[in-house]
């Protein structure tokens, strides 16, 4: 039964977009915490820890997100572990985000000049105080733009979760498209919703950069 694309479908897409946003927000939070650990592990003066971090980053960055999703969703049940689509998508996106955010923040930490550490040290600040009050605040400001850039990418990458049946914006579009048989209208609407989410993020980045005086 083919019907017309109407305002009800737009509402349906918007409701599905909530899951896209929920997935991005949750993956950013979980991946952010994990990414912070990765960033620190990447710079600690203990070689085996650094190697482990580098191996992790290369493995995650060097394999397709879709492959990771399939591995988790379809391969794990083969060994008796079943995961629902939401959990699989969340775990995958979090791990994926942690590898990229870890590297972005690691480079932010290392781009703060050695002289800033020394200036802190020469005033009697402890290593932790130098890190917390001198280096991290500067590294954060440097990292705002690349972090948001990655998150914009992550928003669009959540569409891969459609392929394991997680009903977010893209999966919802597929469903409505096959019901209304007007893919152009449906996917254009979906693209517009993605654009609004991503554009808001970029604007947020601008505001943050201004507030944090990134040029300083």
């Amino acid at each position: 039964m083919i019907r017309d694309f109407d305002s009800g479908d737009v509402v349906y897409l918007l409701l599905a977009a909530r899951w896209t946003v929920a997935l991005v927000v949750s993956a950013t939070l979980c991946g952010g915490v994990l990414g912070f650990v990765v960033a620190i592990a990447r710079v600690v003066p203990v070689a085996p820890v650094r190697w482990l971090a580098i191996g992790y980053i290369n493995l995650i960055q060097g394999t397709p997100l879709l492959g990771q999703l399939f591995a988790l969703f379809f391969a794990l049940p083969l060994i008796g572990i079943t995961v629902d689509a939401w959990s699989a998508a969340l775990v995958c996106m979090s791990i994926y985000a942690s590898a990229f955010l870890g590297e972005i923040w690691r480079s932010g930490l290392q781009s703060v000049h050695q002289r800033q550490w020394e200036a802190g040290a020469s005033l009697g600040l402890t290593y932790r105080q130098q890190l917390g009050h001198v280096v991290i605040p500067q590294a954060l400001r440097i990292s705002v733009a690349p972090t948001v850039g990655f998150l914009v990418q992550l928003v669009k990458d959540t569409s891969l979760a459609a392929l394991i049946g997680f009903v977010e914006l893209t999966r919802a579009s597929q469903i409505i498209s096959s019901a209304t048989f007007s893919p152009l209208t449906v996917y254009t609407t979906a693209a517009a919703i993605y654009f609004v989410i991503c554009f808001s993020l970029s604007q947020l980045s601008q505001v943050l950069e201004g507030r944090l005086h990134v040029t300083r």
């Binding site: 020394e118 040290a121 005033l123 009697g124 001198v134 400001r141 300083r216």
Partner: protein, 243 residues
């Protein structure tokens, strides 16, 4: 006991020996200018004194703290020995006020109101009271360096180390920084300065140390040493920097 006692220190960076057995005593209230060609080890000497570089051999004692001890309390040492760098190294994300207050709060554990009062006083002393709320990138190089001096002095150190603090400045900005140094000197602060400003060394320092190839080559009263160098190395160095 002297404020700074250095006994036969050796410092190597890989295969390069930068300090080849330096011994030196600095008394309280003394102002010592350290001069020499680049690579002679003068900056490294200063950095060893406040523990930014560890020596391989020898002993350094500053204000009763043994810097070279394996378990030396470097944070305590650095409260006693302030250091100002060639590149100012103000914290770019903090205002002038916060730059000066940071260590007062974190290290000396002062309340914000006390820290702010001291910061006001010190920044006023270097003549920048009107820049209190400015960020470092809104200041000229000379102004930034004056703030760096105020930030260090605010910790009330027993000794101040100045590492070529005018070398990165445009020539017209050097004077304002040297005037601040002179006023610090007048207050009786013990100072060690690595400098290329020979006139300043002659007029303000009590004593000049000429370093050459990792050793102290000449050491004596400033005017005497600069007017009548005893060695060919110092003569050739002075004729190179004065012309």
């Amino acid at each position: 006991m002297s404020l700074v006692e250095i006994d036969n220190i050796h410092k190597r960076f890989g295969p390069v020996e930068v300090l080849k057995g330096v011994s030196l005593k600095v008394e309280k209230g003394e102002i010592v200018a350290v001069i020499g060609r680049s690579g002679s080890g003068k900056s490294t000497l200063l950095r060893c004194i406040n523990g930014l570089e560890r020596v391989q051999d020898g002993r350094i004692i500053v204000d009763g703290i043994e810097v070279t001890a394996p378990n030396a309390d470097l944070n305590l040492l650095r409260q006693r020995a302030g250091m100002v760098f060639q590149s100012y190294n103000l914290f770019p994300h903090l205002t002038v006020e916060r730059n000066v207050m940071l260590a007062l709060k974190l290290v000396r554990k002062l309340e914000s109101s006390d820290a702010r009062r001291i910061a006001h006083e010190m920044v006023g002393k270097v003549g920048l009271a009107e820049k209190f709320l400015a960020y470092p990138d809104e200041l000229s190089g000379g102004q930034q360096q004056r703030v760096a001096i105020a930030r260090s002095l605010a910790m009330q150190p027993a000794l101040m180390l100045f590492d070529e603090i005018t070398s990165a400045l445009d020539p017209e900005l050097v004077g304002e920084v040297l005037r601040v140094l002179e006023s610090v000197a007048r207050e009786g602060m013990t100072m060690m300065l690595v400098t290329h400003e020979m006139n300043f060394a002659k007029n303000v320092a009590h004593r000049v140390i000429f370093m050459h190839e990792g050793r102290i080559h000449e050491d004596g009263p400033a005017r005497e040493i600069l007017a009548e160098p005893r060695t060919a190395e110092l003569r050739s160095f002075l004729s190179a920097v004065l012309h």
